[in-house]
C-alpha cells in the first residue's frame, strides 16, 4: 500500500529533474574562420555569460544585448550574475581539473587583470579570438595600449577589449566645495576631517585599486610597478604605504577598524552622509547613479593631479566552452558601434568605448556624438595622466599584506 502512495512523489521528482534539464554536452568541431559561418552555426545556441552582476544598470545593459543578439543572430544570452569574477575562474579551473575539457558551463566571461593572468597561464582560455572578430578592426589599438596589454600581461588575442575604465573619486559639492588637488592634499584632508573617509575592504577591486594608487603616491617608480615582485622586495618597497596607512587609518570612518564590504556599500555610506568621498572605476558611474536617483544632483567627480589608474576590461572564452560560436557572435556584437555607443550613455552604463572614432563611418560616429554628457563626468583632458595598472603580483601581495595587517582586531 505504501508503494502506491510513493508513485506520485516519484513522478513529481522525475518531472522536476527533466524540467531542470542537465546541461547537454556538444561534440567539438573545428571552428570556421569566417564570422558569417560562425554566426550561422551560432544560431540556436544559448551562451552562458559569467559577468559581475553587482550593478543593476549593467545587468540591464547585458539584458538589452541579449535581446539584440536574439533578434540579429538567434543566439540566447544568459547572464550569470557573479559577485566576483574569481568565482568564474575557480569554476573553470575546477571543471577542467575534473576532466570536463569540453561542454563546460561557462561560454563567455567578463574579465581582466589577475583573473585573466590565472586563466591564461594555465592555458584555460580559447583563442586567439580577436582575429575571428569582424569589429576588432575598429578597436583603437594605435592610441590605447591597454586594449592589448592587460595589467602588464600581453593579451595575445585571448581576450577581446570591451570597455575602458579609469579610477575617479566622488564628492558632494554640497559638503565638500573644493576637492583635494593631489594625493598629499587628499591625505591632509583626511587628517583634517576625521571619520569622513574610507575605502572598500580589499579584495573588493575598487578598494584594492585605491591601495594601488598609494604605491604610486609613495614614489615607487612606474617601471618597478610594471614588473613582477617577490615577497621580500614587496615588503621593503611597500613599507612606506603601510606607514602611511598606519598614520591615516585613525582618521578614517570607524577609525579604520571597519570598511564597507563593497564599492556599492561605500556609495551607500556616501549617499547617507556618513562619509564625504566615494570612489569608482567608472568615470561615469556618478552620473549614472545621479540619473538613477541614488545620489544627489550635487555629486561630482575628481582626479588628483598625479592621475589615476586606467585600464581596459575584456571578454574571453574558456577553453572548455560549450558554445564557442555563440560566444564569438556575442563578443562581436558587443564590439559593434551600436552596442559600444549605447554602453557609453551615462543613463545606460557610461562605460568608455574601445573603438577608434576615426575608424568609424560618419553614421557610426554620429551614434557616439549623440550620447549625452553629464556635469558629473570629467572630460578626458581633466582626467590625465592615466596611470598604468601595476603587474598583478603587486595587487595580490597588497591584498594579502593588507589583510594580515588590518584584518585582525585591536
Amino acid at each position: 500500500m505504501r508503494r502506491r502512495d510513493l508513485l506520485p512523489l516519484l513522478g513529481a521528482c522525475g518531472g522536476l529533474a527533466l524540467a531542470g534539464g542537465l546541461r547537454t554536452r556538444t561534440a567539438r568541431a573545428a571552428l570556421p574562420r569566417e564570422i558569417a559561418e560562425i554566426r550561422r552555426r551560432a544560431r540556436g545556441q544559448t551562451v552562458w555569460f559569467d559577468a559581475w552582476g553587482g550593478s543593476p544598470e549593467i545587468n540591464r545593459y547585458i539584458a538589452w544585448a541579449g535581446e539584440r543578439v536574439r533578434e540579429l543572430y538567434g543566439v540566447r544570452l544568459e547572464h550569470v550574475r557573479l559577485r566576483d569574477t574569481a568565482e568564474a575562474v575557480a569554476r573553470i579551473v575546477a571543471e577542467v581539473e575534473a576532466g570536463r575539457t569540453e561542454g563546460g558551463s561557462i561560454d563567455l566571461v567578463w574579465i581582466n587583470g589577475e583573473n585573466f593572468r590565472h586563466l591564461k597561464e594555465r592555458g584555460l582560455l580559447f583563442g586567439p579570438i580577436t582575429p575571428l572578430l569582424e569589429n576588432f578592426a575598429l578597436v583603437d589599438v594605435e592610441h590605447n595600449p591597454t586594449v592589448l596589454v592587460d595589467f602588464t600581461i600581453p593579451t595575445d588575442g585571448y581576450e577581446a577589449p570591451w570597455g575602458t575604465a579609469q579610477f575617479v573619486f566622488l564628492y558632494d559639492t554640497a559638503r565638500v566645495p573644493e576637492p583635494p588637488r593631489d594625493f598629499p592634499a587628499l591625505f591632509d584632508w583626511i587628517r583634517a576631517n576625521p571619520g569622513r573617509f574610507t575605502h572598500p575592504r580589499p579584495p573588493d577591486f575598487v578598494g584594492s585599486t585605491f591601495l594601488k594608487h598609494l604605491l604610486y603616491a609613495v614614489g615607487i617608480p612606474r617601471e618597478r610597478l610594471a614588473a613582477p615582485v617577490g615577497a621580500a622586495d614587496f615588503a621593503a618597497l611597500a613599507r612606506p604605504v603601510f606607514d602611511l596607512l598606519d598614520g591615516l587609518y585613525p582618521h578614517f570612518w570607524r577609525r579604520g577598524r571597519r570598511f564597507p564590504d563593497t564599492q556599492g556599500a561605500q556609495h551607500r555610506l556616501f549617499a547617507d552622509g556618513e562619509v564625504d568621498v566615494s570612489m569608482s572605476f567608472n568615470p561615469a558611474e556618478a552620473a549614472n547613479l545621479i540619473l538613477a536617483g541614488r545620489l544627489s544632483e550635487s555629486v561630482r567627480t575628481f582626479v588628483p593631479a598625479e592621475g589615476t589608474i586606467g585600464n581596459t576590461h575584456f571578454l574571453a572564452i574558456p577553453v572548455n566552452a560549450a558554445h564557442r560560436e555563440g560566444a564569438l557572435t556575442v563578443i562581436d556584437f558587443l564590439l559593434s558601434p551600436e552596442a559600444q555607443a549605447r554602453k557609453l550613455d551615462p543613463a545606460v552604463w557610461g562605460d568608455g568605448t574601445v573603438l577608434a572614432m576615426e575608424k568609424l563611418s560618419p553614421e557610426q560616429r554620429a551614434l557616439f556624438s549623440a550620447v549625452p554628457t553629464h556635469p558629473a563626468i570629467l572630460p578626458p583632458e581633466r582626467r590625465r595622466p592615466v596611470l598604468p595598472e601595476p603587474h598583478p603580483d603587486w595587487m595580490e601581495r597588497m591584498e594579502e599584506a593588507w589583510l594580515s595587517r588590518y584584518g585582525t582586531p585591536g
Partner: protein, 549 residues
Amino acid sequence: MAFPLRHARLSPSGTASFGRIALPAAALALPPLAAAAVPAQAWTRLAAQPALLHSALLSLWTGLASTALALAATVAILALLHGRSAERWAGAPLVPLLAVPHAAFALGFAFLIAPSGWIVRLLSPEITGFQRPPDWPVPGDPFGLSLIGGLALRELPFLLLAALAAKARIGLVPLEASARTLGCRPVEAFLRVGLPRIRGRIRLPVLAVLVYGTANVDMAAVLAPDLPAPLALRTVRWFFDPDPAGMDLALAAVPLLAALVAVAILLWRPLEEGLFALLERGGRTTAACGLVALAVLALFGAGSLCALVLWALAGPWPFPDALPAALGTRTLELAAVDLAGTLRTTLLLALAVAALAVAGARLLLRPGGAPAPLVPLPLLPLFAPPVVVAPLLQRAALALGAEGTVAAVAAGHLLYALPYALLVLEGPVRRVPPPLFAAARILGASPWRRFTELELPLLFPAFALAFATALSVSFAQYETTLFLGGGRIRTLATETVAYLAAGDRQLAACAGLLAALPPLLGFVPAALAVRRGLSRRAAARTGPRCPPR
C-alpha cells in the same frame, strides 16, 4: 531556520524527546563527516588565518546571546499576555515580520540603528544638533550587539508564535487553578506550572533558532562585526575569494563551523536551564519585562518594515531628512523588470518544493498511529546550518553533473522544507481517530480514496499550513540556492543579498518586499482554512457515499 508558520502544531511529545537527545548527538556527528572532505594542507592554512578564534567565539556568542534574548522575551511576553484577550490575536501582527526575508529585515533594522539611520534623523538636527551623522560603530559594533539585537528581533516573533500555539493546545486551566488555590498569583501560577509544559514543546524551534543564530550569513552580512567577521560569514567569503586557494580555507572552515554549532547546542542546555529558573522565579517582574519586550518589538519590528517600504519607494534620501523628499514607483518598476524571471523561478521552485515536502511528510507519517521509525531522520537538517550543508551538497551535485540545475536546487530546498512540513503535519495526522480509517478499510476503500475522501477533507487546514510553511522555507533559502544553483538559478533570496552587496538599498528593499508577498499569500488561505473549519464541512459532504464492494 527560515520562516514561519510551522508554529501551529509544532513538536509533539515524540519529537520533543527526540530533540532532547538524538538531534544534538547527530549534530556532534556532522563535524567529522564534513572534515572527511578537507585536503590535509588546508588545516594548516586555516590555522594560520588571523583571528580565527575570535571569529569562532563571536559566532558562539552572537548565537547564544541572541537565542537567550529571544527566548527570554518570548516567555516574558507570554507571561504578560497570560489570561488576557490579546493572547488570541497577538499572533496575527507577527506574520508580516516573519514573511520578510532575513536579509531584508536586517537592512531595515540597520537603517533604524545606524548613525545616519532613521532614529538619529528623527532627532536631528533639532535635538542632537547633528548636521552630519556621528561616527558611531553601529551596525557592526565589535561586540556583535547589533547582530544580536537584529537576530533576537527577527526570531522573537517565530518563537512567540510557536509558544502561543503550544500554550493554546495544552490545557493549563486545571493545573493553574490548583496552583492558585495554593496561593499563587495568576502570573506566578502560569510561570511555575504552565511554563515547564510549554518549554518542552518549543524545544525544537528554540534549537533551530540557536543553530541559525550561530551560523547565519545573510543577517551577519549586514549587521555583524568585521575584521574579524563571525566564522560563517568568513567561510562564505573564502568560498568566493578571488584567490583560488580560498576554497581550501573554506572547506576546512566548514567542519569547524559544524563543530561550533555542536558546541553551541551543548552549551545551550545549562544556559536554558538557568534562564528558565530565572524567568519562573521572576513572577510579576517577568511580566513587566514582557511589556518592555513588546514595546521594543513593536517599535523596531514595525520600524524596520516601514523603513523597507519607504526605501522601496524613495529616491535620494539624504541625512538628516526624516522622510524621503519624493516617493515613487520608479524603483519598483525597475525591480519588476529586473526580477521578473527571478520571481517566476522562485515561485515555481517553491510550489514544487512545497508540494513534494507535503507529500513526502505525509508518506512518512501514519494516520492515527506513531510515526514510522525513520521519521526523525528528515528532521536532522534543522540542526545542520545551510552554510555547512550546502557546500557538501554542491560537491555531490558537481560529481553528478547536476550543479546549476533546477533539480539540484529543489533537492536542497526540499532538505529544509521537509522537516518543517513534518513538524506541522505530525500532530494532526497522528491524532486522526483510528476507527475512522478502520471502518473505511473494512468497507474496502482504496488507500487513495481513504486519503482524498477522508483524510484530506479532515486535515485540510493542516495540509494547507504545511504547504504554506514549506513554501516560505523555500523562499528563504539563501545558501542552498547559492551553492547548488551555481549562479545559474537565482531566487529572490539571492537577489536581495546581491542588491545589498551592490549597495542598492532601494532595489534590495523591493526584492525583500517582493519575497515577503508570496509566503504571506500562501499563508492567508491556510489561515482562512483553519478559521472556517473547512474540514468539518468537507467531511460531512463526503460522508454519505459508501464505497462499492
